[in-house]
């Protein structure tokens, strides 16, 4: 089985959110439903120099996250109907909207905020890896729309061979929880998962 996954370069990402918007446009997502979300992680402090003066070490960087199509998804394990399932073919995690009962338990379980509830249709929705575009040999719309070329998509083994295996960058959770199909590149400010020196700055956007 191939496992498809994402690559996110936090050194290149400027937080422009073109990926988030192109995804909303391609998939006709309503206000409040974001299959891809850009988290602004920031913090900093005043550091006292030896001569008694102060300097600041303020930092901020962006992590663009959709669904990581995890190897051990918390959502599919939680789902009481099997509507949330992992495809044999390419490891993409999808919702069968005709089976979903809208209990929102997957939303409670996924630490990445990937399941997004459609309040009108009363069922769960989420990133489907643009499987229709992938079938045509294209990449997902978020990847192709990124003006900084900070995102990539493909078989996770290829991505890991090309970019490494980092996936534990704040504010993302410890990757051992769900084993996400995700490779991250750290920016020079990047903090490890579990970091307490910063916080998500744009909580109302994500």
């Amino acid at each position: 089985m191939i496992q498809l996954g994402f690559y996110v370069d936090t050194a290149k990402c400027t937080g422009c959110k073109t990926c988030q918007l192109s995804c909303k446009d391609e998939n006709d997502l309503k206000v409040g439903i974001n299959w891809r979300r850009v988290y602004e992680y920031g913090g900093g402090n005043w550091i006292q120099n030896e001569d008694g003066t102060y300097a600041q070490d303020v930092f901020a960087y962006y992590t663009s996250i959709s669904c990581n199509h995890c190897a051990k998804p918390a959502c599919t394990k939680a789902c009481p109907t099997g509507a949330m399932h992992k495809r044999e073919k390419d490891g993409l995690v999808m919702v069968n909207a005709d089976v979903c009962v809208g209990c929102r338990y997957c939303e409670m379980a996924c630490p990445y905020g990937a399941p997004q509830f459609d309040a009108e249709k009363k069922v769960m929705t989420k990133c489907d890896g643009c499987y229709d575009r992938v079938d045509q040999g294209k990449k997902p719309i978020c990847i192709e729309s990124c003006p900084l070329r900070a995102l990539d998509f493909g078989p996770i083994e290829e991505l890991r061979a090309k970019y490494g295996t980092e996936a534990d960058i704040a504010p993302l959770p410890d990757s051992s929880l769900t084993e996400p199909s995700l490779v991250m590149k750290a920016s020079r400010h990047a903090r490890p998962s579990g970091d307490k020196t910063g916080r998500i700055m744009n909580t109302r956007e994500v």
């Binding site: 918390a74 789902c79 009962v101 379980a109 916080r199």
Partner: protein, 282 residues
Amino acid sequence: MQQLSLVIFTVLAQGTVGLFLVLATLLMFNQDAKRKQLLTRMMGVVLVMLGIAGGAALAHLGQPLRAFNVIFGLEHLSALSVEIMTTSLFGGAVFTYGAMAHFGILEKLQKLVLTGAMGLGILLLLAIANVYTLTTVPAWNSGWTIFQFVMTAFVIGLPAAALLLRSQSAKLGTFQKNTDRALATLGFVTLGLVLVGYSLYLFWLGQVELPVNPLGLMDYHGSLILARLGLLFAGLGVWVIAATRGSNSGVGLAAVSTVLVLTAELCGRIFFYDLHMFASGM
């Protein structure tokens, strides 16, 4: 609050299991036919409460008409599927026992069905806790969730059972008085356990690794925690103290007590659901 229906479902279901366990225990050791009839009739209250709880749970679903789809989740042992199935089986077993006892069907098998229903009731308490001990949700993923969910059964079940028995005190005679005293003693032990337990739980909560202070999430949380402890103390206290001093048949007092503890547990559960967050803060 989005999970209000779940607050109602979990608290009512747990309280119902507690009430049922008390009534079932009394029935297990009962030899009197008249008493059995009265106690069996009280099972109707268990079924009604469970029905309200089930209705609340259904109201939480976006697509309640597809509720039967939860059977598919048993294939991968989804905690939610197991919980829903256990609730249905428990309700079914209580109903079966009630019908058998009421119509006098298969006298010898009745206690077996009753034992099965008691087992399912205990499983239901654990199954509900199992839904919320998610590895990705640090404030929920602990033995404290199980402790709280099991204690709710005692906290509500004991005064509710005392209330039902007191309502029939004229017909039940000394049996009711003695049972009330026994229940009040258990209530006293429960009160001690929860007051110590819930305080320790708050201490534990304060040191969980979370992106924000779990005790300062909402402005109303301080009052909610205090209200819960106060109502619990008042609710169990008035009944236990009066009962141990010989007042064992006042329906009003037991009713006030039941309402107070029910409110206390609803406050506690609202606080519990508010604590849902991931270690990452995402």
